[in-house]
Point group: C2
Chain length 113, copies 2
Protein backbone atom coordinates (compact mmCIF):
# COMPACT_ATOMS: atom_id res chain seq x y z
CA UNK A 1 0.00 0.00 0.00
CA UNK A 2 1.64 3.13 -1.23
CA UNK A 3 -0.73 5.53 0.52
CA UNK A 4 -1.10 7.15 -2.86
CA UNK A 5 -4.74 7.94 -2.32
CA UNK A 6 -4.37 10.12 0.71
CA UNK A 7 -7.33 12.46 0.75
CA UNK A 8 -6.32 16.13 0.96
CA UNK A 9 -7.17 17.27 4.48
CA UNK A 10 -10.52 15.61 4.94
CA UNK A 11 -13.41 17.09 3.06
CA UNK A 12 -11.83 20.26 1.87
CA UNK A 13 -13.45 23.22 0.43
CA UNK A 14 -16.59 23.62 -1.57
CA UNK A 15 -19.83 24.50 0.23
CA UNK A 16 -21.87 22.16 -1.99
CA UNK A 17 -24.85 24.46 -2.20
CA UNK A 18 -23.09 27.50 -3.65
CA UNK A 19 -21.44 26.23 -6.81
CA UNK A 20 -21.57 22.97 -8.70
CA UNK A 21 -18.96 20.59 -7.36
CA UNK A 22 -16.08 19.72 -9.66
CA UNK A 23 -15.64 16.05 -10.43
CA UNK A 24 -12.44 15.98 -8.37
CA UNK A 25 -13.97 17.67 -5.35
CA UNK A 26 -16.97 15.39 -5.55
CA UNK A 27 -14.74 12.33 -5.55
CA UNK A 28 -12.71 13.62 -2.62
CA UNK A 29 -15.77 14.42 -0.55
CA UNK A 30 -17.42 11.15 -1.48
CA UNK A 31 -14.38 9.25 -0.23
CA UNK A 32 -14.68 10.90 3.16
CA UNK A 33 -18.43 10.37 3.36
CA UNK A 34 -18.04 6.75 2.32
CA UNK A 35 -15.79 6.23 5.30
CA UNK A 36 -18.60 7.49 7.53
CA UNK A 37 -21.45 5.77 5.70
CA UNK A 38 -21.31 2.52 7.65
CA UNK A 39 -23.19 1.72 10.84
CA UNK A 40 -20.20 0.05 12.45
CA UNK A 41 -17.87 2.94 11.72
CA UNK A 42 -20.40 5.47 12.97
CA UNK A 43 -20.64 3.53 16.19
CA UNK A 44 -16.87 3.37 16.45
CA UNK A 45 -16.65 7.13 16.04
CA UNK A 46 -19.28 7.76 18.68
CA UNK A 47 -17.79 5.16 21.00
CA UNK A 48 -14.38 6.79 20.81
CA UNK A 49 -15.93 10.22 21.37
CA UNK A 50 -17.92 8.98 24.35
CA UNK A 51 -14.86 7.19 25.73
CA UNK A 52 -13.04 10.42 26.41
CA UNK A 53 -11.85 10.98 22.88
CA UNK A 54 -9.51 8.01 22.86
CA UNK A 55 -9.88 4.25 22.90
CA UNK A 56 -7.96 1.11 22.03
CA UNK A 57 -9.24 -1.71 19.88
CA UNK A 58 -9.95 -3.88 22.89
CA UNK A 59 -12.33 -1.23 24.19
CA UNK A 60 -14.29 -1.28 20.96
CA UNK A 61 -14.49 -4.90 19.88
CA UNK A 62 -17.10 -5.95 22.39
CA UNK A 63 -19.49 -2.97 22.10
CA UNK A 64 -19.84 -3.33 18.35
CA UNK A 65 -20.10 -7.12 18.53
CA UNK A 66 -17.71 -7.88 15.68
CA UNK A 67 -14.43 -9.73 15.39
CA UNK A 68 -11.19 -7.96 16.21
CA UNK A 69 -9.87 -8.02 12.62
CA UNK A 70 -13.09 -6.45 11.38
CA UNK A 71 -12.86 -3.67 13.96
CA UNK A 72 -9.24 -3.08 13.02
CA UNK A 73 -10.27 -2.88 9.39
CA UNK A 74 -12.94 -0.28 10.07
CA UNK A 75 -10.58 1.81 12.16
CA UNK A 76 -8.05 1.76 9.35
CA UNK A 77 -10.68 3.04 6.96
CA UNK A 78 -11.42 5.92 9.32
CA UNK A 79 -7.73 6.72 9.71
CA UNK A 80 -7.15 6.59 5.95
CA UNK A 81 -10.03 9.02 5.52
CA UNK A 82 -8.35 11.46 7.89
CA UNK A 83 -11.13 11.21 10.44
CA UNK A 84 -9.17 9.39 13.12
CA UNK A 85 -5.60 9.14 14.26
CA UNK A 86 -3.71 6.13 15.54
CA UNK A 87 -1.22 6.24 18.37
CA UNK A 88 0.51 3.01 19.29
CA UNK A 89 1.65 3.02 22.88
CA UNK A 90 3.22 -0.23 23.98
CA UNK A 91 0.97 -3.12 23.13
CA UNK A 92 -2.09 -0.98 22.65
CA UNK A 93 -3.17 1.15 19.72
CA UNK A 94 -5.14 4.19 20.76
CA UNK A 95 -7.53 5.70 18.27
CA UNK A 96 -8.76 9.27 18.56
CA UNK A 97 -10.93 11.60 16.52
CA UNK A 98 -8.98 14.11 14.46
CA UNK A 99 -10.13 17.46 15.88
CA UNK A 100 -12.19 19.40 13.39
CA UNK A 101 -12.39 16.67 10.78
CA UNK A 102 -16.05 15.90 11.36
CA UNK A 103 -16.84 19.59 11.59
CA UNK A 104 -15.18 20.16 8.23
CA UNK A 105 -17.48 17.58 6.69
CA UNK A 106 -20.47 19.12 8.41
CA UNK A 107 -19.54 22.56 7.14
CA UNK A 108 -19.52 21.37 3.55
CA UNK A 109 -22.99 19.92 3.90
CA UNK A 110 -24.52 22.90 5.65
CA UNK A 111 -26.76 25.05 3.47
CA UNK A 112 -27.62 27.69 6.04
CA UNK A 113 -26.07 31.09 5.64
Amino acid sequence: MTAVDLPPPAACCTPLHREALSAADAQSLARTLKALADPTRLRLVSLVAAHGGEACVCDLTEPVGLSQPTVSHHLKVLVDAGLMSRDKRGVWAYYALVPGALDAVARVLTTEG
Copy 2:
Protein backbone atom coordinates in the same frame (compact mmCIF):
# COMPACT_ATOMS: atom_id res chain seq x y z
CA MET B 1 -40.76 -2.12 -3.64
CA THR B 2 -42.98 -1.63 -0.60
CA ALA B 3 -41.26 1.51 0.65
CA VAL B 4 -40.85 -0.35 3.86
CA ASP B 5 -37.45 1.08 4.57
CA LEU B 6 -38.41 4.72 4.65
CA PRO B 7 -35.81 6.47 6.77
CA PRO B 8 -37.37 8.45 9.61
CA PRO B 9 -37.00 12.11 8.73
CA ALA B 10 -33.50 12.11 7.39
CA ALA B 11 -30.71 11.71 9.87
CA CYS B 12 -32.62 12.12 13.05
CA CYS B 13 -31.39 12.69 16.48
CA THR B 14 -28.18 11.71 18.14
CA PRO B 15 -25.29 14.19 18.19
CA LEU B 16 -22.75 11.40 17.58
CA HIS B 17 -20.13 12.89 19.86
CA ARG B 18 -22.19 13.02 23.04
CA GLU B 19 -23.36 9.47 23.56
CA ALA B 20 -22.58 6.18 21.89
CA LEU B 21 -24.90 5.66 18.96
CA SER B 22 -27.44 2.85 19.23
CA ALA B 23 -27.26 0.21 16.55
CA ALA B 24 -30.56 1.39 15.11
CA ASP B 25 -29.56 5.05 15.01
CA ALA B 26 -26.25 4.12 13.45
CA GLN B 27 -27.99 2.16 10.73
CA SER B 28 -30.41 4.98 10.04
CA LEU B 29 -27.70 7.60 9.83
CA ALA B 30 -25.51 5.33 7.73
CA ARG B 31 -28.31 4.91 5.23
CA THR B 32 -28.56 8.66 4.78
CA LEU B 33 -24.80 9.11 4.52
CA LYS B 34 -24.55 6.27 2.06
CA ALA B 35 -26.93 8.13 -0.20
CA LEU B 36 -24.54 11.08 -0.14
CA ALA B 37 -21.32 9.08 -0.35
CA ASP B 38 -21.12 8.95 -4.11
CA PRO B 39 -19.40 11.46 -6.37
CA THR B 40 -22.22 11.49 -8.88
CA ARG B 41 -24.90 12.05 -6.27
CA LEU B 42 -22.89 14.83 -4.64
CA ARG B 43 -22.62 16.53 -8.00
CA LEU B 44 -26.34 16.10 -8.57
CA VAL B 45 -27.09 17.71 -5.24
CA SER B 46 -24.81 20.64 -5.93
CA LEU B 47 -26.08 20.97 -9.49
CA VAL B 48 -29.66 21.17 -8.31
CA ALA B 49 -28.70 23.68 -5.64
CA ALA B 50 -26.79 25.81 -8.12
CA HIS B 51 -29.64 25.54 -10.62
CA GLY B 52 -31.99 27.54 -8.45
CA GLY B 53 -32.98 24.71 -6.17
CA GLU B 54 -34.82 22.78 -8.82
CA ALA B 55 -33.88 20.88 -11.98
CA CYS B 56 -35.25 18.19 -14.26
CA VAL B 57 -33.36 15.10 -15.34
CA CYS B 58 -32.60 16.57 -18.75
CA ASP B 59 -30.75 19.43 -17.03
CA LEU B 60 -28.56 17.00 -15.14
CA THR B 61 -27.72 14.21 -17.55
CA GLU B 62 -25.21 16.13 -19.60
CA PRO B 63 -23.27 17.85 -16.75
CA VAL B 64 -22.55 14.57 -14.98
CA GLY B 65 -21.75 12.76 -18.22
CA LEU B 66 -23.75 9.63 -17.48
CA SER B 67 -26.67 7.89 -19.12
CA GLN B 68 -30.22 8.98 -18.36
CA PRO B 69 -31.17 5.74 -16.57
CA THR B 70 -28.14 6.09 -14.32
CA VAL B 71 -29.01 9.67 -13.43
CA SER B 72 -32.60 8.63 -12.73
CA HIS B 73 -31.32 5.87 -10.48
CA HIS B 74 -29.13 8.23 -8.47
CA LEU B 75 -31.95 10.73 -8.08
CA LYS B 76 -34.20 7.97 -6.80
CA VAL B 77 -31.61 7.06 -4.20
CA LEU B 78 -31.52 10.66 -3.02
CA VAL B 79 -35.32 10.85 -2.88
CA ASP B 80 -35.55 7.56 -0.98
CA ALA B 81 -33.06 8.92 1.52
CA GLY B 82 -35.26 11.95 2.13
CA LEU B 83 -32.70 14.37 0.76
CA MET B 84 -34.57 15.33 -2.39
CA SER B 85 -38.15 15.63 -3.54
CA ARG B 86 -39.65 14.79 -6.90
CA ASP B 87 -42.35 16.83 -8.56
CA LYS B 88 -43.63 15.61 -11.90
CA ARG B 89 -45.08 18.44 -13.96
CA GLY B 90 -46.26 17.39 -17.38
CA VAL B 91 -43.52 15.48 -19.13
CA TRP B 92 -40.77 16.66 -16.85
CA ALA B 93 -39.77 15.52 -13.39
CA TYR B 94 -38.38 18.31 -11.25
CA TYR B 95 -36.06 17.41 -8.42
CA ALA B 96 -35.40 19.73 -5.51
CA LEU B 97 -33.46 19.60 -2.27
CA VAL B 98 -35.57 18.93 0.81
CA PRO B 99 -35.08 22.07 2.91
CA GLY B 100 -33.13 21.33 6.06
CA ALA B 101 -32.30 17.73 5.23
CA LEU B 102 -28.63 18.35 4.57
CA ASP B 103 -28.42 20.61 7.60
CA ALA B 104 -29.86 17.87 9.77
CA VAL B 105 -27.08 15.56 8.66
CA ALA B 106 -24.52 18.27 9.24
CA ARG B 107 -25.84 18.90 12.72
CA VAL B 108 -25.39 15.27 13.70
CA LEU B 109 -21.78 15.32 12.59
CA THR B 110 -20.87 18.59 14.24
CA THR B 111 -18.82 18.25 17.42
CA GLU B 112 -18.53 21.92 18.30
CA GLY B 113 -20.64 23.24 21.12
